[in-house]
């Protein structure tokens, strides 16, 4: 899989012809293997995240906070196995956040800005996975664990899960702002400036989530049109954009400290010697 993106810059003595061989070669010798590793982990993580949250556990799109207790118990009963197994996989894979955050932090390190940005972002986003995802997964797991538990307690777990998931705002808000300020100050041209402005939109959606803590129904509840659906659109756009931009950053990476060079045109193949010189 990596070879499809990485074979443009392979060394002249690249031996294998098979896909697998090329993949192994890339794993061993590719000069950007660490970056591609982190990038692929990020892509796979988001795919799994979508599948697990939307299809396996079916906790997204979120159910209504206005439901009465029997409905909520019923909701847990319908998803009993999906929740337990799905969140088991979530627990297994959520460590994949680490390479992802490392890559984002690296993008900031490659900029001409202070190291403060990279390290702040790294710490903030490593922290964010716990209240933003794992606490939710734990509450859901415990909720599904004993269907015969007192319904009121199940309802409490339901609120706990969705509010911790939707209502964790600050780390993402400040994290996006850190990233966008770094992009705006950067002189190395690592990211286009419009991505910084898109980051501002994303940061503002985190502000918009806040009413989820207050309302049990309507557009501002945790499943509401404004607090969930519009935010989801922005978040998905933002994520898709930064995945593509990070990919381009890795392709342009020259391991220097100056401005990142632009990509050569598609028809113009990278001279193998330049990569050889890099190594």
């Amino acid at each position: 899989m990596i070879n499809s993106t990485a074979d443009t810059s392979s060394e002249p003595e690249v031996p294998p012809d098979t896909r697998l061989g090329r993949f192994l070669w890339n794993c061993r010798y590719h000069p950007k293997r660490e970056l591609w590793f982190a990038w692929w982990v990020m892509v796979v993580f988001y795919q799994l995240y979508g599948v697990l949250f939307f299809l396996v556990t079916r906790v997204q799109p979120p159910p209504s906070p206005a439901w009465d207790t029997p409905m909520i118990v019923q909701w847990f009963d319908d998803r009993h196995h999906g929740l337990l197994a799905g969140f088991g996989i979530v627990f297994l894979i959520s460590g994949m956040c680490a390479p992802m955050n490392a890559l984002l932090a690296y993008s900031m390190r490659r900029m001409s800005v202070s190291r403060v940005f990279a390290y702040s972002y790294l710490i903030m986003y490593s922290l964010s996975a716990i209240p933003g995802m794992l606490v939710m997964a734990i509450a859901m797991t415990v909720g599904a664990l004993r269907p015969d538990r007192d319904p009121e307690l199940i309802r409490w777990l339901y609120d706990f899960a969705f509010l911790s998931f939707s209502g964790t705002m600050g780390v993402f808000l400040v994290g996006s702002v850190v990233w966008l300020v770094a992009i705006l100050l950067d002189k190395n041209n690592v990211f286009p400036k419009w991505f910084a402005y898109l980051g501002l939109c994303n940061a503002l959606t985190e502000v918009v989530v806040a009413p989820a803590w207050i309302f049990q129904r309507g557009a501002f509840a945790w499943n509401g049109a404004i607090a969930w659906w519009i935010n989801m659109v922005v978040f998905v756009t933002y994520t898709a954009v930064f995945i593509v931009l990070l990919r381009r950053m890795i392709e342009r990476e020259d391991f220097g400290t100056g401005p990142l060079p632009d990509l050569p045109d598609k028809d113009e193949t990278v001279p193998a010697g330049s990569v050889g010189a890099l190594r």
């Binding site: 419009w194 939109c201 918009v208 207050i214 557009a219 404004i226």
Partner: protein
Amino acid sequence: MTHVAGPRPQLAEKPKFVPGQPDMWLFVLFEALLFTGYFSVYLVSRTQNQELYLQSQADLDLRIGVVNTIVLLSSSWAIARCVRAARGGAYRSALTYAFVTIGFGVVFVISKVLEWIHEIGMGNTFTSDEFFQHYFFLTSLHCIHVLIGFIVLGVVIYQLWSSKRRSQELVETGATYWHTVDFLWVLIFAMLYVVR
């Protein structure tokens, strides 16, 4: 950097250019679409419960809204003057206009806060009914944009201050942001105060 598009011979006497970073225009359009989303949600929920919205809307004072709008329009005018002055090299006057813009912005924020206090005094809070949910949501989200606008204007002033900097591109980018704040308010004003 973006003005180097160059004059096109077949067109008018002036060269065509994008004001400010083209990147900022993406923000303008994206953010405006986002607000369109919020307005659509508002309009749909409004039609579902028309009576309640009309009743609550009666508690808003249209005159305050009009004054707010005119204040922001004036600030928009001032920043447009600022851009023209900076382009002409009249940096002192550009600085003055930038400060006038901030002045109008501050007046806007103060009048907004006074209006909120007034509404809360009348018992209309964020949680009191659906109309006021939307009212407080839209106005405060817009107010956050104004506050970010102050930071942007700060950058503009910083650029204009010293002869070492003076990037016309950044001044224009900042102005574009501020106009966005203005036209978003124009839309919000129509949505909250006028629509029946």
